[in-house]
Symmetry: C2
Subunit: 542 residues, 2 copies
C-alpha cells in the first residue's frame, strides 16, 4: 500500500499558488496599467526552497508516531515542514518568499486512514502535542498557521491518504475522503456520471475536508449551493472521541451537530469523512457575459433573478472599477477591446457593470432556465455581450491566485476579502468597505464583485492592489486588513462569507457571534478538545 | 396596554386540539369501517375542566414576578395552569381527559416583551425555578411537559405577548415574534403582499417560536423549505445572557450558532425573535390528485421530481393502506367513490397510491412548473385524478388533529410518528416501521405517506389506529411507541423528521447523535443554562 508521508504532495511552488509553469507573465501593457493606477513598484525577490531558515524540530512523542502508523507516516524533512508551515494568504506568501520562518510544524504526519487519524489525535491529546489539520493548505486567512497554543510540540496532520469516493447513485449522495482535492473528487464523480458542483477559486488545490471545515463557496454555488448546503453528514475525529452525524436527508432531532462541525476549522477535531449531495454531471455548461447599466442596477437584476427563483447557476457581477480593469487587461490580452468599447458607448453602457452568468445541467432544463434569466436580465436593463465573454471568464476562472504570484514578484500588494449582507443593507456595506479600502491603500485599485446571490442577500468580494511597502509588507497588510474589517463590522456585514475565520479574522469573532456565542463554541471545544491541542489560535479570539 | 396574563389564550378545548365546534362527528360509515378494521371500541368519557384535579401551586419567587413585569403578568388560576400542563400528544390528551394531572406549572407567566422574557429567565435561574417555554402548546412529543428537573418551582413562560411583525420587503425577510400563531403571522404578511409559506398540520395553533424551537416542517415545505431553512437569524434569551445571531444571508464565520438554537426545544433558553425568509404571496395555489401505480412506484416518481429540480411545492404520497382508508372515508363523506373505483380499476390502479401535488406562486411560474411536474408524473406511470381531489385535500389539510379528538371520544388509540431516510434506504425503513407497528397494534390500521421530499431522500409519516386499551391507554401507547422507535433506530432512520424530540424521543437521542454528540449539546447547555432550569427532561436523555 502506498501512502504515509511518501504520498505528501510537493507539486506546487513552496511559496506560491501552483507550480511555476502556471504563473503568468505580466505583459508590458499590464505593468503600464499598474504603474498608472498604483504607482511604481519594486520587483520583490523570492528565496529558494533550499535557503529557507526554520527553527529546529522538537522530536514528537513515540506514541504519536505509533498511533499514526509508524515512522513511514511521519516526515521531518525541511521541505515537508516548510510546505506545511503556512497557508496561502498574502502575509503567508510574504513570509515564505522572505525565506525565514518564525515557526513550522515539528513533523508532518500522514496517517493511512480515518482510524489512524483518530488514534493520532488521541495520542496528541495525551502528550500535549498541538495538531494543525492540513488539507490543501490553501487557506487565505491563516487557517493552517503553525501556532502551538500552550503545547511544546506541533504536528501538521496531512490528510493526503484519506481519499475514498463512494457513491449512492439512487440518493445522489457521495462519501468523500477529506484529502481529495477538488479535481480528484470531481474526476471520480464525473467517471460515474455525477458532479459535486463545487468550484471555488482554490479548486485546483483545496480539499474536501477543507471545504467542509471552512464553509467554502464555489463559483457555481448560486446554482448548486454552498458547500455547507451540500454536506449531509460528517465524521469528526476529536481528542475526546469520534462523532458521526446520522445519514438522513433531514432531522428535527435537536441542534444540528453537523453545523457545529462544518466551519469548525480544525479547532474541534479532524474531519475524516464527508457525505455530500451530488448531481448528475451536466450535459451543458453555458456561460455568457452581459453588461448592466451600473453596479447598483446590476445588483437589482441579481436580486430579481434570485427572488423569482430564476437565478443562473453562475452569477458574477463586477463593479465599475473591476469592470474597467478587467476590460483593460482583456484588451491587452488581445481581445477586441476597441470594438467592445464602441459598442458599450453606443448602448450607453460605458460606465456599466460586467455580469457573467451561466447555466449547467440537462440541455432542455439549462436552455429553459437560460431563457427565463435572459428575459429578466433584459427587463433589468442589461445587454448581452455573448458567449465569448463567458468563455473568457471560464478560461480564467482559477487563474486569479496564479496571477497574484506574478504580481507579488512585481512588488504589488494584492489581497482579497469577502463579506455579505441582506439586499437592503448591501449598498451601504459596499460603500463602507470600498471607502475604507481606498483610504487604506492610498487610493489603490479597489475592485468588487457579487459572486453568490441568495433570496435575501448577496456576497461582496473585494480585490485590492497597491504598491507593496518594501520591508514592511506585513505591517501594510495589517493596516489595510484592519481598516476593511472594521468597516465591515460597523456596517453589520459578516466578517467572512466563504474564506472562513482562521487566525486573521479571529479578533472579530466577538462582533460576529457575541460573547455568549463565543462561550457556546468554547464550551463545545473544551468538551471535545480538553487539552486544547486542535489548531490553536484559529477561530476563537485570544 | 393589553397583554400580560390577561392575553393568555383560552380558545381551544382544554383537553383537545381546537374548540369543540371544530370536532367532526364520526359518521355511521366511519364507525363501521373502524369496527371492521380495529374491532370494537368503548367510547371514552372526558372530564370537565372544572373537575380536573391538579397539585396545589407552590408560590413563585417575587423576583420572578418582578422581572416578568409584576402581578399582571402572572396567572395562577387552575384553568391557566391546566392549559399549560400538557401538550397535545396522545398520552397528553389521555391524561387531560382523565381529569387528574400529576403535575402542572405553579404559575403561568406572560412577559410583555423580549427584555422581560430575558429578565424572567435570569430571575428563574437565580431562584432555581424551572421554565417551560410555551408557544402554542401543540407539541406531540411531550415538549412542554411540566417537568421540574431538580427545581422546586416551575413556571410556564407563555410567549403570547411577543407578536411583532417587521418586514424588509427588499430582502424578503421578516422579523416575527415567537408568540405569533401561524394564521396571525400569515395574515400580517399577506396584508403586506407576502407569505411565510409554512403550513404544518398544527398551523392553526402552533407558533413561530415553536416552529423554530422544534425544526417544524409544513405541508408546502418541499417548495418553500422546512422552517429551519427559512430562518436566517434568532435571538435567544438564555439564563447566562442573550445571544443574537448576525443578520446575514450566509457566513463562513465558524459553526452555525443559529443551528444550535433552532431545534434546542427550550432547553438552552427562550427564542424571543425569529428572522425568516418570506416570499411574495402566491397569485395561484393549485392542488391536484394523482394516482401512482403503487407506493414504491410513487416514491420513484417523487425522487425523479426532486432530483430533477421539478418538485411541486406540495407533495404527499400515500401508501396503499392510507389510500384505501382515505378513499373509503371520502366515499362515506359523499364523494363519487364508486365512479372513482371503476376508473382506477379500468386504469389498473386499484392497488395504487394517492398522490397530492400542488404548485404555488405567480401564475406563469406555477403553470410552467406544473407542466414540468405533470410530464414527469405521467412518465412515472401516475395518472391524474383532477383538481377536485386536490381541493378535497386542501379542505381537510388541518383537520387531522380535530378528527383525533373525535376518535378518542370513540375509544380509538390514534397516534402518528415520522422519520426520514435517503432514497436508497427508504423502502427498508418503511417496511421495518410498518411491520413493527402492525405487530404492536395487533394488526391495527397502519397508514403512511411521504410528505417532504429532498434531492437525497424523503420523510415517512405514519398514522396508526387500534382499539384503545381502556384504563391502560398510556401503557399501550408506550409499547407501540417503543416498538416503532426501535424499528426506526435499527433501520438507521432519524427518530424525528419534524415532530422534534421533546420528552418522548429523548431516550433515543444517543442513537441519533452518539455519545460525543450528546456531550457537545450538554456542554452548550451547561454554559448557557448553568442552573439547569430550562425545559427539564426534554431533548437530552436521562
Amino acid at each position: 500500500m502506498s501512502g504515509g508521508a511518501d504520498a505528501l504532495r510537493r507539486d506546487t511552488a513552496f511559496a506560491g499558488w501552483g507550480p511555476p509553469e502556471l504563473k503568468p507573465e505580466l505583459s508590458a501593457g499590464v505593468l503600464a496599467l499598474l504603474r498608472e493606477r498604483i504607482g511604481e513598484t519594486q520587483p520583490a525577490p523570492e528565496a529558494a526552497l533550499g535557503s529557507v531558515q526554520l527553527p529546529e524540530a522538537t522530536a514528537i512523542p513515540e506514541a504519536v508516531t505509533r498511533a499514526a502508523g509508524g515512522e513511514g507516516a511521519v516526515s521531518t524533512t525541511d521541505e515537508d515542514r516548510i510546505r506545511h508551515a503556512a497557508g496561502r494568504s498574502y502575509p503567508d506568501l510574504v513570509t515564505l518568499r522572505g525565506g525565514a520562518l518564525p515557526d513550522a510544524p515539528d513533523a508532518v504526519v500522514a496517517p493511512a486512514d480515518a482510524e489512524a487519524v483518530a488514534a493520532t489525535v488521541a495520542a496528541c491529546s495525551e502528550t500535549a502535542t498541538a495538531v494543525v489539520p492540513f488539507g490543501g493548505g490553501t487557506s487565505v486567512v491563516g487557517g493552517v498557521a503553525p501556532e502551538r497554543g500552550g503545547c511544546e510540540r506541533l504536528i501538521a496532520l496531512d490528510l493526503t491518504n484519506l481519499r475514498r469516493v463512494d457513491v449512492d447513485p439512487v440518493s445522489l449522495l457521495a462519501r468523500l475522503g477529506p484529502g481529495l482535492r477538488g479535481p480528484e473528487a470531481e474526476a471520480a464523480l464525473n467517471e460515474r456520471g455525477f458532479t459535486l458542483g463545487h468550484f471555488p477559486q482554490s479548486y485546483r488545490y483545496a480539499t474536501i475536508g477543507g471545504y467542509a471545515a471552512t464553509r467554502s463557496a464555489g463559483q457555481a454555488s448560486s446554482g448548486y449551493g454552498r458547500f455547507d448546503a451540500l454536506v449531509t453528514g460528517v465524521e469528526l475525529a476529536a481528542p475526546a472521541g469520534v462523532m458521526r452525524t446520522l445519514r438522513t436527508p433531514h432531522t428535527a432531532a435537536g441542534p444540528a451537530l453537523r453545523e457545529l462541525v462544518i466551519g469548525s476549522e480544525g479547532t474541534l477535531g479532524v474531519i475524516t469523512d464527508v457525505e455530500t449531495r451530488i448531481r448528475p454531471a451536466p450535459a451543458v455548461r453555458h456561460y455568457e457575459a452581459w453588461f448592466a447599466e451600473g453596479f447598483e442596477a446590476g445588483v437589482e437584476v441579481v436580486r430579481t433573478l434570485a427572488q423569482s427563483g430564476e437565478l443562473p447557476d453562475v452569477v458574477r457581477l463586477s463593479d465599475r472599477e473591476e469592470t474597467e480593469v478587467s476590460l483593460a487587461m482583456a484588451g491587452m490580452g488581445g481581445l477586441k477591446r476597441g470594438g467592445l468599447e464602441r459598442y458599450l458607448k453606443l448602448r450607453r453602457r460605458e460606465h456599466g457593470s460586467m455580469l457573467i452568468v451561466g447555466w449547467e445541467g440537462e440541455r432542455e432544463s439549462a436552455d429553459r432556465r437560460r431563457e427565463l434569466s435572459r428575459r429578466a436580465l433584459r427587463a433589468g436593463g442589461a445587454i448581452p455581450l455573448g458567449a465569448s465573454g463567458g468563455r473568457s471568464w471560464e478560461r480564467g476562472r482559477y487563474e486569479g491566485p496564479h496571477l497574484r504570484d506574478a504580481l507579488m514578484d512585481a512588488g504589488v500588494f494584492v489581497e482579497t476579502l469577502e463579506t455579505a449582507h441582506s439586499y437592503s443593507q448591501l449598498g451601504e456595506l459596499y460603500e463602507a468597505v470600498r471607502t475604507a479600502l481606498k483610504r487604506a491603500t492610498g487610493d489603490g485599485v479597489v475592485m468588487c464583485h457579487v459572486s453568490h446571490a441568495y433570496r435575501d442577500g448577496a456576497s461582496l468580494y473585494f480585490t485590492f492592489l497597491a504598491a507593496a511597502r518594501r520591508g514592511s509588507e506585513i505591517e501594510q497588510w495589517r493596516e489595510i486588513k484592519a481598516a476593511a474589517c472594521e468597516a465591515i463590522v460597523a456596517a453589520g456585514g459578516t466578517i467572512t462569507h466563504h474564506h472562513a475565520v482562521g487566525h486573521d479574522h479571529a479578533p472579530y469573532m466577538t462582533s460576529e457571534v457575541g460573547e455568549l456565542g463565543l462561550d457556546a463554541i468554547a464550551a463545545v471545544k473544551e468538551r471535545l478538545d480538553p487539552a486544547a491541542i486542535m489548531n490553536p489560535g484559529k477561530l476563537l479570539p485570544g
